[in-house]
Symmetry: C2
Subunit: 420 residues, 2 copies
């Protein structure tokens, strides 16, 4: 089923942004400072929406009333604005992760097309533009090639030769961009950028849109995610995020809500009886899941901020303290055992010293993958949740205190070996 055309395709909602906003943000993230947009169907709606949404990048609009002829005609419309510089040419319906643009360093004097050699990565191979390679350059290009080596990803690096090619092919009644690209290839003026292994997708149908959303949601994990996050929390948080992102709620508001939920759990814990611990334990685990959503929303909408990270991390520390305090108080209230305060103190000190050493510890390593940090917050909150649900407060504190402090000792040894 083709996508409904109630909204123009570039404005198709995609996880908190529209398709075209997502592409613009991906470009911006890679250092592009200006985007020229050739509009077609429902042009004024597209222009209005993009002018409203603060993309933080210079946008130039060119309307093309003849958009139905073919995308070659649309591309040619950009000639007056772009004929004096090299540029990237993209489709509003080809999504990709920003890393797709990474080979883009050092301008070549030839145009180039991004290709993918992995056919399993192509969502709809029938609809794709195929490429037969001749050595290291494109030979034949077209949708109906039988014998091909790769697929066109819908991203082109263009010198102004593209406009001469477009003028030639359009004048011959061939209105597709692929025709002009074929022309360049025939003249030996086209290189390839091999993007095999990277994620991109041509969004043409409802099915491809759903698949793209799934892939983008899956990409929201962070390399520093702990095991519990990876195996459990993220799988749930991404569905929550998927809903939250539609409401327009800000990541910082979600941080505050997750904090308040943990605070509420600690109040529940403070009652001390078994039932309260059970409820509190479930709430804590849910707050742990929700704690992933703020970052996910920020990454989906390309609005990650240093302030947001700072806010989230400080709130997390307070939430950690409150949960431990609530558990200790509840236990003391119902058992009157001083020992809970002593263990609670050392659990709190361990948890805090753990977070404290984290930033510095991680800064020592070059890539996040090198850091084997057990006991991240996802794991610690799970220990607390399980401890509360099973009504084992003292043992929970003992485990937390022991594990965090042993981990810190391990870090000291690692750092000593690496740095001294």
């Amino acid at each position: 089923m083709r996508l409904q055309q109630a909204v123009p395709k570039p404005l198709t909602p995609f996880l908190g942004l529209t398709l075209i906003e997502r592409i613009i943000q991906s470009l911006k993230q890679k250092g592009i400072t200006e985007v020229v947009i050739v509009t077609g169907y429902l042009s004024s709606e597209v222009i209005e929406k993009l002018n409203e949404s603060k993309t933080g990048i210079k946008l130039t609009f060119i309307e093309n009333p003849e958009w139905e002829k073919g995308n070659g005609v649309s591309a040619l419309r950009a000639k007056p604005v772009l004929e004096n510089e090299n540029f990237l040419l993209l489709m509003c319906d080809h999504l990709f992760y920003p890393d797709m643009l990474e080979p883009l360093s050092g301008g070549s004097d030839k145009s180039a097309m991004w290709i993918d050699r992995d056919m399993d990565n192509v969502f709809d191979i029938d609809d794709a533009t195929k490429v037969r390679l001749e050595g290291k350059v494109p030979g034949k290009i077209g949708k109906n090639l039988k014998d091909f080596d790769a697929v066109d990803c819908g991203i082109f690096y263009c010198t102004n030769e593209i406009f001469a090619a477009l003028e030639r092919t359009v004048s011959e009644g061939k209105f597709q961009l692929a025709d002009a690209v074929q022309y360049l290839a025939d003249k030996g003026r086209l290189d390839i950028v091999d993007a095999t292994g990277k994620f991109w997708i041509d969004i043409d149908t409802g099915k491809s849109l759903r698949y793209a959303k799934k892939r983008v949601l899956d990409s929201l994990s962070k390399p520093t995610d702990g095991a519990i996050s990876r195996l459990f929390n993220r799988r749930l948080s991404k569905h929550i995020t998927c809903q939250l992102v539609k409401t327009g709620i800000s990541p910082n508001t979600v941080s505050v809500i997750a904090f308040l939920l943990t605070f509420f759990s600690s109040v529940v814990f403070a009652f001390g009886e078994r039932l309260y611990l059970l409820i509190g334990g479930i709430l804590v685990q849910f707050s742990s899941i929700l704690d992933g959503c703020d970052g996910e929303i920020a990454r989906l909408k390309f609005i990650s901020s240093r302030y947001g990270t700072f806010l989230d991390s400080v709130l997390d520390r307070y939430a950690d303290s409150l949960v431990i305090f609530g558990l200790a108080y509840g236990y003391w209230r119902s058992h009157g055992d001083f020992l809970v305060w002593a263990l609670g103190f050392f659990a709190l000190a361990g948890v805090f010293a753990f977070s404290y050493t984290n930033a510095r510890y991680e800064a020592i390593f070059e890539t996040p993958e090198q850091i084997k940090v057990p006991l991240r917050r996802d794991m610690r909150l799970l220990i607390i949740a399980v401890g509360a649900v099973t009504n084992q407060v003292l043992i929970t504190f003992l485990i937390l205190a022991a594990l965090t402090n042993i981990e810190i000792l391990r870090r000291m040894i690692v750092v000593r070996r690496l740095l001294s």
Copy 2:
């Protein structure tokens, strides 16, 4: 009184290093990778000592048996090694802070002499080599100039023209470096580097040695020092450091000792009675003073390390926890009041969240001077010490919890304004 010559002058002990080691380390800190040393009096002792002490820099020794003739003869001895490159020429008895070498960027084709226009900064003006300027270049140079604008700091940037000048002046029977420098100045081949306002000193007498030690000790404060450090702790810690540095104790050992002292205070606190609080309070304040010594020793010996900083900061966090725990336990033991645990918890959480936010918070600002951070560890330990000595545990916790958490709130607001 001239310095005793029991050891050769370069080996004069100076706060944990010898004079020449300190100069070599200052050079190393500024990126110099090789030092050529012309030795004179007790040459073999100097060479032996420097070969033993791991300076971490390439050293080349040239012995000059004719050292008594004059320092021009010594400088000329370096010709075979240095005639093909530009270099810095320094005296083994002229101390300076490494920042003295900062104008050293971009090689000039002319030699240059470092000068100081501030006569009040010159320790022994009678013994100094004076300089009369002609416009922006040196005119007359000599110890006995009556009319002068500046003083020679004993640091020179040299092209190989210096060797030609030395050969000429030495052949004329003028054996001082100043003679060759005068020769270059006469030929218009000498620039100045204006080091006015920076610290340097020609160490010639016991008095100048003592003054130099005092100045270097005073420079051990850090721009991030809190008020209590600046006004009180550093004034005592530098005297302790001055003694410790002679023993060869490592900075990390001092960190551990300061930690153990705080741990011991917390044990004393745990007894809870008034007299113990009094003793513990005094011990805590002493540990706070000792806590400055590790960094001071490291800076004096140029052995600051990232591991050392890491170790010290982690130990500080544990020490903070232990002291609060000790106070809480002692109070609970003698008063049986649960409230102390609640307040202790919030004090600990506040103190820890304070340290946690510190690193990030400080990273936001460009210079340490822009950061107005109250409540650093010096202040927090003083609050604890005073609270213990006056037997006001609950109020101490209340103050700590309130002040730290208010400060964190303030930081959140500042960061939000700056970053979002």
